[in-house]
């Protein structure tokens, strides 16, 4: 095992190298570029024996990956923001065809106004695309998830494409010390991909991405949904087996921090979870019963796991680095549905922050906890809070 001081993007590239995809098809976009630059280097120096396809667009990046996956080979691509939306029609295409493609997405704002910095508007747009979506907190988790993602996506019970999300710049461009596992260990954990039974092969030729009219279409979609829901078990299973081999675990669908006796719980994704951990410690030391949920997976959505952790909370806050215009933050909507389905009745608040790369500071997290504590104590409190706003609007 080597310890390296590298950025989140470098960590992704290291993870991809260890996972040994057969083909990489990618198009550069800020802040994803370092991933594809490193992978190009690895292909050039022979440390990754993969074919690197210089596609002419993100649309073709994913289309080519679908071609690769359709013959049972391991495919990787990476994108961000406008690029993710440019390839958007291919996302449900790949998931409907049950292709275990892995894609890294550097979460970035959407134009207009143009902005290259991080928020989560891009991946939220594609929540309904039938891809598993995970959000990582740091560079180590980014590397580890490149390995876990293939293990989960390629499981015959799952066979679903996988999007690994890193907050643009805050994670992609921040340097951290990362443990890079030994190749032999990864090879044993993630063996070379074998042709799955539903892929094209000379032995058993098949037609893929077929047409199913109103007589069969619905059954295909229901099966896809049920198997995506069932992947929650495989996600937990893989996280556990990964921990056994590599010594690091991420608690599956979500990580609950100090939630056992918590009266108020803040739900975050990605890098904000890291900042929030520090505030949890600070507030606990002051005697406040605060807890934190690091929501890792948005699809499949961990309804049951959430309900279990939230069952005694008086107030729940959801951090959203996105807005569904005309409504609220997207994660907030999803959490509210899970809460309602579970028969819980906490007060719920949405903290919208970090749009277009606006900092989410420790002070902002304190403000969120203060609002939740005050709401739990019975004070009236706004439903939607915009954090760290420069001026009255």
């Amino acid at each position: 095992m080597a310890r390296k001081f590298i950025s989140g993007n470098d960590a992704v590239a290291e993870g991809v190298r260890l996972a040994r995809p057969h083909v990489i098809s990618a198009y550069p976009i800020t802040p994803q570029t370092i991933v594809v630059e490193r992978l190009s280097d690895f292909c050039e120096d022979g440390s990754l024996k993969a074919i690197y396809m210089h596609v002419e667009s993100e649309h073709s990046a994913l289309a080519a990956a679908m071609g690769v996956s359709s013959v049972g080979a391991r495919a990787f691509t990476a994108t961000s923001s406008q690029g993710l939306l440019y390839m958007a029609e291919n996302l449900p295409y790949a998931s409907g065809a049950r292709m275990p493609i892995v894609m890294m997405n550097a979460n970035r704002a959407l134009a207009t106004p143009w902005n290259i910095y991080g928020d989560q508007m891009d991946s939220m747009f594609l929540l309904n695309a039938g891809w598993i979506q995970v959000y990582v907190e740091d560079a180590q988790e980014a590397l580890d998830m490149m390995i876990q993602s293939y293990k989960i996506a390629e499981d015959p019970r799952v066979m679903t494409p996988f999007m690994v999300n890193l907050d643009g710049f805050v994670l992609t461009h921040t340097y951290e010390v990362v443990d890079v596992p030994e190749q032999e260990l990864v090879d044993a954990y993630l063996p070379p991909l074998k042709l799955a039974e539903n892929m094209m092969s000379l032995e058993a030729p098949k037609s893929l991405c077929i047409t199913a009219g109103n007589n069969f279409n619905m059954e295909f979609k229901i099966k896809q949904n049920e198997e995506m829901n069932a992947s929650t078990a495989i996600i937990a299973e893989v996280d556990a087996s990964f921990a056994e081999v590599f010594g690091r675990k991420y608690h599956g669908l979500l990580e609950a921090i100090a939630c056992d006796d918590a009266e108020v719980i803040l739900i975050t994704t990605g890098s904000v979870a890291g900042t929030s951990r520090m505030i949890i410690e600070e507030y606990r030391n002051k005697g406040h019963k605060v807890g934190l949920i690091k929501l890792r997976y948005l699809r499949p959505f961990p309804t049951e796991a959430l309900a279990k952790v939230l069952k005694d909370a008086k107030a729940v806050g959801v951090v959203d680095k996105n807005i569904s215009f005309g409504y609220e933050g997207t994660i907030f909507t999803n959490v509210n549905s899970a809460i309602l389905q579970s028969g819980l009745t906490p007060k719920v608040h949405n903290f919208i922050c970090g749009l277009g790369g606006r900092d989410v500071t420790k002070e902002n997290i304190r403000e969120m906890f203060d609002a939740l504590l005050s709401s739990a104590a019975g004070d009236s409190c706004e439903k939607i809070h915009y954090m760290n706003v420069r001026c009255a609007l």
């Binding site: 057969h22 083909v23 098809s25 993969a50 074919i51 396809m53 210089h54 596609v55 002419e56 667009s57 649309h59 073709s60 990046a61 289309a63 080519a64 990956a65 679908m66 071609g67 690769v68 996956s69 359709s70 013959v71 049972g72 080979a73 495919a75 029609e89 291919n90 295409y93 094209m200 092969s201 000379l202 030729p205 098949k206 037609s207 893929l208 991405c209 077929i210 047409t211 199913a212 009219g213 069969f216």
Partner: protein
């Protein structure tokens, strides 16, 4: 010199069979014959269009080989991905082939095709050109000829139908310095089959652009598909040519053209054309042939 493929020595095995294309469909004939020549180790990529719509209807699949429907814009990219995947897995002696229509090639799929040619991907790309978006109900594409009545280029008092000319796909592709490109017609099947056979041994990307009449979209009886496709070449509105080793070559250079009027008057889509419109088509034709004869006949 490769052996000539004729009706006599062509295999009776069908690899594209049981599809639901219209009677007299030129495009399905082009696919069927190409598949016979390419054989069982072919991986076919087809975008949205007539051929994918008629041959992948669950649970009835018309391709006996591996085949996949691609996103509309993605024939070139998916076929290239298939080729890369097969290469990476060490699966040899296969053909990754794209069969797209005129719109799927010259309009929405042009970018992905350009990318594949630029990379020199090991694919054979067929443009089955029936000169409009037929699958969606006969709308104008970038390969619809001047004066064509389609549902989005109506002919009336103000317009003669389509007012643009066919995008010059063959030369666009050649301008990439592609390894091999050819035009063909389902009216000259031996020429077409020879070109498919040739593409099989090309290193890099091949492109075959075949004119394929569509009785439904052209307003023609289904039994004249072949003779009409022949006449398109004989009257000079289409041509048979190749591009290889950086050189163009005309495969057929008629001494005299048959009348354009005879060709267009057989077709409902051109029924409204006036003498002046037909003269315009002839002028365009003559200009094109002047250039082809000057530059390509060595």
């Amino acid at each position: 010199m490769m052996p000539k493929i004729t009706a006599k020595n062509l295999t009776n095995d069908e690899l594209f069979y049981g599809h639901k294309a219209c009677g007299g469909c030129g495009e399905s004939l082009a696919v069927r014959l190409a598949m016979k020549i390419l054989g069982e180790r072919t991986f076919a990529s087809l975008p949205a269009g007539c051929m994918s719509a008629v041959s992948f209807i669950y649970p009835n699949m018309a391709f006996k080989t591996n085949a996949i429907i691609t996103p509309f814009a993605s024939t070139g990219a998916v076929a290239a991905g298939v080729a890369a995947g097969l290469k990476a897995l060490g699966i040899e002696n296969t053909y990754s082939v794209g069969f797209a229509g005129d719109g799927g090639t010259a309009d929405i799929g042009l970018q992905a095709l350009s990318g594949a040619i630029d990379r020199g991907d090991q694919i054979i790309y067929f443009c089955n050109d029936n000169e409009a978006y037929m699958n969606t109900g006969i709308q104008k594409s970038g390969l619809t000829p001047y004066g064509t009545r389609t549902t989005t280029s109506p002919a009336g008092e103000n317009l003669p139908g389509s007012v643009t000319t066919k995008k010059n796909m063959f030369e666009i592709v050649a301008a990439h310095d592609i390894a091999y490109a050819a035009t063909a017609s389902v009216g000259y099947l031996e020429d077409y089959m020879m070109k498919v056979e040739k593409a099989k041994s090309v290193k890099g990307t091949s492109y075959i652009h075949i004119l394929a009449p569509c009785p439904t979209g052209w307003g023609t009886p289904s039994e004249i598909t072949i003779s009409l496709a022949k006449e398109a070449v004989d009257c000079g509105l289409w041509y048979l040519a190749e591009y290889e080793n950086g050189e163009f070559k005309l495969n057929k250079d008629p001494k005299a053209f048959t009348p354009v009027a005879d060709y267009v008057k057989k077709q409902g889509r051109f029924k409204h054309l006036t003498e002046t419109d037909i003269e315009h088509l002839e002028t365009q034709r003559d200009k094109k042939w002047l250039k082809m004869r000057r530059d390509w006949n060595k």
